[in-house]
């Protein structure tokens, strides 16, 4: 795609009536759309001079058909001018700060600043007089001086430096009459009655008067106020000629019944023309002023609702059905408005979405694409002298990898149909410089994305790998940057349509380039869960494999020549693992298990690999030493090896694995009994007030703090016990220790006891009066009564132990501050 025009800037401005007429294709005079035969009426709202929406008709202005002509503006000449609602505030400020007599500026404050600095909230009608103080602070102060010097003071008086003493000035204002600094005439009080009524000292100002007033302001004064006399003159805020948007902006739709239904804007324009005509007729007939003003008012209403049908203080114009019309402002505004829905959010073609599922045999840089999607998506392929034959074959192909469209240099798009004759014809005509759109094949580059796209690695470039089935397949090792799982998550795939975009994706967005996160510089794509367990079992000292097992694993990681066995006729896991390490790698770290891991020249000499060592010392080192592509291949192979190892070894848990020995059980009871005694002791001290208060805390808080300390110590003690009793060979403990999955806490809670439940790191305290559940006596502060769970998940929880669990699990993640304690808060018993 070629870009031949680049927008550099956009100038916003007001249209003058002359401008509106000049760019108008026709004057609209008939308040109707189609005649009885269904043809557009000349001078009507769908006049063909405004462009066409019906296929077959031609635009009378440019001669184009539906797609060729984007439409032309028309206009309506209003017999009496009306105020543009959206500019009412601007007009008001202009009137406020100029003199109706000599048409000179009486304030120096730029209106632009006033309007833009105004708070987000709409100014209520009653508040408007206060704006006055902001706009025209100079008037009152300057007035007395002028009196003596008589009328024509050449300069505008300096504005008041600050509003230091507002109250004082307010008083002064009431006493002194406001007088123009230039001509000495009293300044009227201007009022804006929202939305469009203007009053000068209680007398109504007609839009025509306002326009005359504002047109006689000098260019210098306009500049002073912040306007640009060339582009935005305030008198243009009064509408005399109303532009009528082209038909394509307000297309009518034909219902199944053959009935036409016009767009809301067209309806509104019909109203405007109708009233405009009526007004004209009445004026020509010399109707009484009262009637004319009523009609004028009505015209103002229709023009107002044409711009914004949600204007405050006026009833919205409604459709026959009672639905409020969607007029110009409504089209732009809000989440579903033009700006946020269409302009900021673009839609794309060449994309696909489906459920994801795991496939550990794919490379992590690949994505498995279902056949059906591969047949639907296309990428452009330029025909060159070197691939001409290939392209012809693509066109002639009957099934899957085939060309779907052919683009000729003249812009014509040919569909490669199903008939062999057509295909043959196209392939024979195919020339260098044409472009094919062929179905995607293995090796194409695609963008893969999962929402919410919280960071840039939520969208990465994957290599297409077409597979049977209906889901996108991805290597489970890349789920972390997408934060994906396979419980029904869906992801999106995009095919880039230019060589440039494809190249950028390959070089910048490829998965292997994102292995280290920009957030912290550490690996984000790394072996996880089963991979970690597998590698641990593989590299443990006692792990060795028979020739047969080893051969299988060597083959998996792409080694076809069998190395010499290192343990008589068996292969150690360390040897297998070392095959994957680059010769440049050296490391010496302490593992999570406390032993030393030594890697020398790409050989694992000592220690078993766990998550931390794998990630920090191996993966990141390799990335730095050998680069992204090597690391990608390393990850692919190491995860494959890990999975094979864990399959051979086997990893499972059963109830038995969480059953403590009777002796340990006894000890746990001992520990909790001790805890109970300690708590009792503390509570006693608290009751007798002999507990020493910690600085800055109440006695109650001190007690609670100490008890929480005791309960967490209990959990730690039990933890040590569990760790000893279940031994290091317990799968659950292994997984927790090597950082594969779960934590020691999980094992404790399942086998020994669940321990203290807390809300906002405090023991439970709410519920009933002085107790958390009606089972308890009020005011008791021991463990059981405040959410300590003595049972383990294996044994099962009592009802009063169960209830605190969901309370503690609920975490109000909102930023709401915890309000004052409610009446149900139970405080300490006496």
């Amino acid at each position: 795609m070629e870009i031949n025009k680049i927008l550099d800037r956009i100038k916003f401005s007001l249209f003058s009536p002359e401008m509106v007429r000049k760019m108008s294709a026709t004057k609209i005079v008939v308040p109707d759309t189609y005649d009885d035969d269904g043809y557009p009426i000349d001078g009507g709202l769908v006049d063909t001079k405004l462009g066409v929406v019906d296929p077959g008709l031609r635009c009378k202005t440019c001669g184009g058909r539906v797609k060729e002509c984007s439409g032309h503006f028309g206009h309506i000449d209003l017999v009496r001018p009306v105020v543009h609602v959206e500019f009412a505030k601007h007009i008001y400020l202009v009137l406020k700060s100029t003199c109706p007599n000599c048409h000179k500026l009486t304030s120096r404050k730029a209106i632009k600043e006033v309007v833009e600095k105004e708070p987000v909230e709409e100014t209520a009608a009653s508040e408007i007089p206060s704006l006055m103080e902001v706009v025209a602070p100079a008037i009152t102060e300057a007035a007395p001086a002028v009196k003596t010097e008589k009328a024509a003071l050449p300069q505008v008086p300096e504005p008041e430096s600050d509003f230091e003493d507002k109250g004082k000035k307010k008083k002064g204002k009431k006493e002194k009459a406001k007088i123009c600094a230039h001509c000495g005439q009293p300044l009227p009080e201007i009022k804006l009655l929202k939305p469009t009524g203007f009053y000068k000292d209680k007398a109504m100002l007609l839009p025509s008067d306002i326009r005359d007033w504002m047109s006689s302001l000098s260019d210098d004064d306009l500049k002073e106020m912040g306007f640009d006399p060339l582009y935005s003159r305030p008198e243009w805020m009064i509408i005399t000629a109303l532009p009528v948007p082209p038909v394509s902006v307000r297309p009518s739709i034909t219902l199944e019944t053959g009935e036409r239904s016009e767009d809301d804007l067209t309806h509104k324009l019909v109203d405007i023309i109708r009233i405009n005509q009526k007004l004209e007729a009445n004026i020509n007939a010399g109707a009484p002023q009262l009637i004319i003003e009523d009609l004028w008012e009505l015209l103002q209403y229709h023009v107002t609702t044409y711009f914004d049908n949600e204007t405050a203080n006026i009833p919205p114009a409604r459709h026959r059905s009672g639905r409020p019309l969607k007029t110009l402002a409504q089209r732009l505004k809000g989440k579903e408005g033009r700006f946020r829905y269409n302009l900021s959010g673009k839609r794309v073609n060449f994309s696909a979405r489906t459920v994801i599922s795991p496939d550990p045999r794919l490379s992590l840089a690949e994505v498995g694409v279902p056949q059906a999607i591969a047949e639907e998506l296309t990428v452009p392929l330029a025909v060159t002298e070197w691939n001409l034959e290939h392209c012809k074959a693509c066109i002639l192909a009957e099934k899957y990898p085939k060309a779907v469209y052919v683009l000729r240099p003249d812009g014509k798009r040919l569909k490669v149909g199903d008939t062999p004759e057509l295909r043959k014809e196209i392939s024979e005509n195919l020339k260098v410089g044409w472009i094919l759109e062929r179905q995607i094949i293995n090796g194409d580059i695609s963008l893969f994305n999962r929402q919410p796209s919280l960071h840039r690695i939520s969208m990465m470039a994957h290599i297409v790998h077409v597979l049977p089935g209906k889901t996108f397949r991805l290597n489970p090792v890349v789920v972390s940057p997408y934060n994906a799982d396979f419980d029904g998550d869906e992801m999106n795939l995009h095919m880039m349509q230019t060589e440039e975009a494809q190249a950028e994706a390959r070089y910048l967005m490829a998965v292997e380039k994102q292995l280290l996160s920009p957030r912290h510089g550490h690996a984000i794509i790394k072996p996880q869960e089963d991979h970690v367990s597998g590698l641990y079992f593989l590299t443990r000292d006692n792990a060795d494999f028979s020739k047969e097992e080893a051969s299988n694993m060597f083959f998996l990681i792409g080694i076809t020549e069998l190395p010499e066995p290192d343990r008589k006729d068996r292969y150690s896991g360390k040897l297998l693992f070392s095959q994957l390490l680059p010769k440049s790698l050296n490391a010496k770290v302490k593992s999570k298990l406390g032993e030393e891991i030594v890697i020398r020249s790409g050989k694992l000499i000592k220690g078993a690999v766990e998550s931390k060592a794998m990630e920090g010392e191996v993966l990141e080192q390799i990335f730095v030493l050998e680069g992204p592509e090597y690391t990608r291949d390393f990850l692919n192979r190491v995860t494959m090896l890990a999975l094979e190892s864990i399959s051979l070894h086997g990893l499972s848990v059963s109830i038995k694995d969480y059953t403590l020995s009777p002796k340990a059980e006894e000890k746990v009871n001992g520990i909790t009994g001790m805890m109970d005694r300690e708590i009792d002791n503390l509570v006693m001290q608290y009751r007798s007030k002999s507990l020493e208060r910690s600085p800055g805390l109440t006695l109650k808080e001190t007690l609670e703090g100490l008890i929480v300390q005791i309960t967490s110590k209990t959990r730690e003690d039990v933890g040590k016990l569990v760790e000893e009793d279940l031994t290091i060979e317990n799968p659950s403990i292994i997984m927790a220790k090597i950082g594969a999955r779960g934590s020691l806490l999980n094992a404790i809670q399942m086998s020994a006891l669940v321990a203290q439940q807390t809300v906002r790191s405090k023991r439970l305290a709410r519920g009933y009066r002085k107790r958390i559940l009606p089972y308890f006596k009020p005011g008791v502060l021991t463990g059981r009564e405040r959410g300590f769970v003595y049972s383990s998940f294996r044994k099962g929880l009592t009802p009063y132990e169960f209830m605190p669990m969901p309370w503690a699990a609920v975490r109000p993640w909102s930023t709401l501050p915890s309000g004052p304690p409610g009446p149900d808060t139970c405080s300490a018993g006496s």
């Binding site: 956009i10 916003f12 309007v115 732009l332 920009p518 109000p812």
Partner: protein, 342 residues
Amino acid sequence: MYKKLKSAIAPYEAVGVVAAQSIGEPGTQMTMRTFHYAGVAEHVPTGLPRLIEIVDAKKEPKKPIIDIYLKKDFRSEAEAAKVARELSSVFVSDVAEVEDDLQNLTVDITYSEKDGKALGVSFAALRKVLEESSAKLRISENVITLYPKKVKPKEGEKEKEVTARSVRKLANRIKDGIVKGVRGIHRAVVVKGDGEYFVRAAGFNILGAMEHPAVDSKRIYTNNIKEIERVFGIDAARNSVLKEIKDVMDMQKLYVDTRHIMLISDAMTNSGKVRSIGRHGLSGQKVGVLGRAAFEETVKHLINAAAFSDEERLVGVTENIIVGQTVPVGTGKIRLAMSHKK
């Protein structure tokens, strides 16, 4: 050298976006955990609320904290406790009952021995403070009675009578009067950290605390960034933004590279003032008409642009997306030339 070059950021890389994502992505996991600073001001907000506070450049944090480190000779626990007691502000109303007697137009201050002893304020000390006020004192056992004087009128003003209202005003002023310690420093406690004892208190009156002879004025710190800016200047404020954000992230155990946070604190302070992030602060002014219209109050922005014939320069990402052009970041700013050798 090669590695250094490789690690450099590419031209036009959208570093701000990366920094924002780096903080924002883990931010979704942030909880409203509040942290307990031993003793002082119950709960100091951390996590998301605190982060918002920092980034919005609030004038005063919800719970201001000041850490007052001490000079070498005062770093023992006992000495620190002494300093803490001396720094903690004690109001007149803490040690005495202040009552206005509207009938006699006097203010009666009744000293409470119990409270006074607990807070280390003697009757004499209270009296000394009250003597500084512009009123006559009459002292009878534990009670000080103030007789407000007629204020000497300023030039051109009428002489003011002592009214019931002025007496009440005076009484209120006296209640808030400080008998001891530094205004704005409350509930000082001794905290041990890094092998030394220091004082931690609620409040942020840096200058006030510095006046104390035992205070090491080089190491005084508060979580009130604006105060740091006011007292120590913009560079100090920049560092404190950095530290405060880092503390929040560390507390949540979210590891974010410091350089992202540095970028943010630089952006917040590079104008010479601490500005907030958001539409009122540093990103507010730069955005063009279209960008603002897309964000909120669509119609108002467009109308104002038309009225004052503004120009949209299309410099931002949003604006260019709206008009459908390549965005001016990253490779969108780079043009390629191919050497055409035959």
